[in-house]
């Protein structure tokens, strides 16, 4: 039986901008990968919009994984901008392990931002036959 899960999240761009100003790299380094930060360069406002959408994607992914206490680290969920301008989702470390255990092997992502809010929708599809072992070799490439 095919298992389809959806995660959605809404993040305030103003809140992200305020955090960028208040905490700077201490904030960004805890939440975002080097690639995400590279993909989100620009003015403060543009960075805040881009990073808010990426934070929403991480939250949406955690919702699709349906984890609570075992939630992965923020940087183990990575949004990558591809040359065509779209974004793809890549799971690393514990996030990849959780996805594998749940049998979720296809992930799709949509981001948007307008005015003060950024949103992300994540769809995960799998066989529904998760595994119980701790094979972390899959880093989500091709997801």
């Amino acid at each position: 039986m095919i298992d389809v899960r959806v995660g959605v999240d809404l993040t305030s761009i103003d809140a992200v901008e305020a955090s960028l100003v208040r905490f700077g790299p201490r904030y960004t380094d805890r939440l975002f990968t080097a690639r995400e930060l590279e993909d989100s360069r620009g003015t403060l406002s543009a960075r805040a919009s881009s990073l808010a959408a990426r934070f929403a994607a991480k939250e949406a992914t955690i919702k699709a994984l349906r984890v609570g206490h075992d939630a992965p680290e923020w940087t183990e969920i990575e949004v990558r901008r591809v040359p065509d301008g779209w974004c793809s989702l890549h799971l690393l470390g514990q996030a990849a392990t959780l996805a594998q255990r749940a049998g979720l092997d296809q992930w799709s992502l949509a981001l948007t931002h307008e005015a003060n809010m950024a949103a992300a929708v994540v769809v995960a599809v799998g066989s529904g036959h998760g595994v119980d072992h701790d094979d972390t070799a899959n880093d989500g490439e091709g997801a």
Binding site: T11, S12, V16, S19, R26, Y27, L31, F55
Partner: protein
């Protein structure tokens, strides 16, 4: 220590209630704490107590209540007179 936690929650938690009215075991997420605000609360606590939260404590349960935050701070060496 609880007073400092309440101060940080007031500054960074974006709660929907006055932190003075929150009990030490009350669920902060039910009081409006979001995942994003949790990060700011953590960084604010690091500033107040001059320490760094290890990634293993960046969990939802760590910030579930004032008591759980206090216990996490004690675990990583914070003192009440920070």
């Amino acid at each position: 220590m609880d007073d400092i936690i309440r101060k940080v929650l007031s500054e960074h938690g974006k709660l929907t209630v006055d932190t003075a009215t929150i009990g030490v075991d009350d669920d902060l997420y039910r009081s409006g704490l979001t995942s994003h605000a949790t990060v700011n609360v953590m960084l604010g606590l690091e500033d107040e107590f001059d320490l760094e939260f290890p990634n293993r404590l960046l969990r939802k349960t760590t910030f579930q209540s004032i008591r759980s935050i206090s216990e996490a701070l004690t675990e990583i060496g914070a003192t009440a007179d920070a």
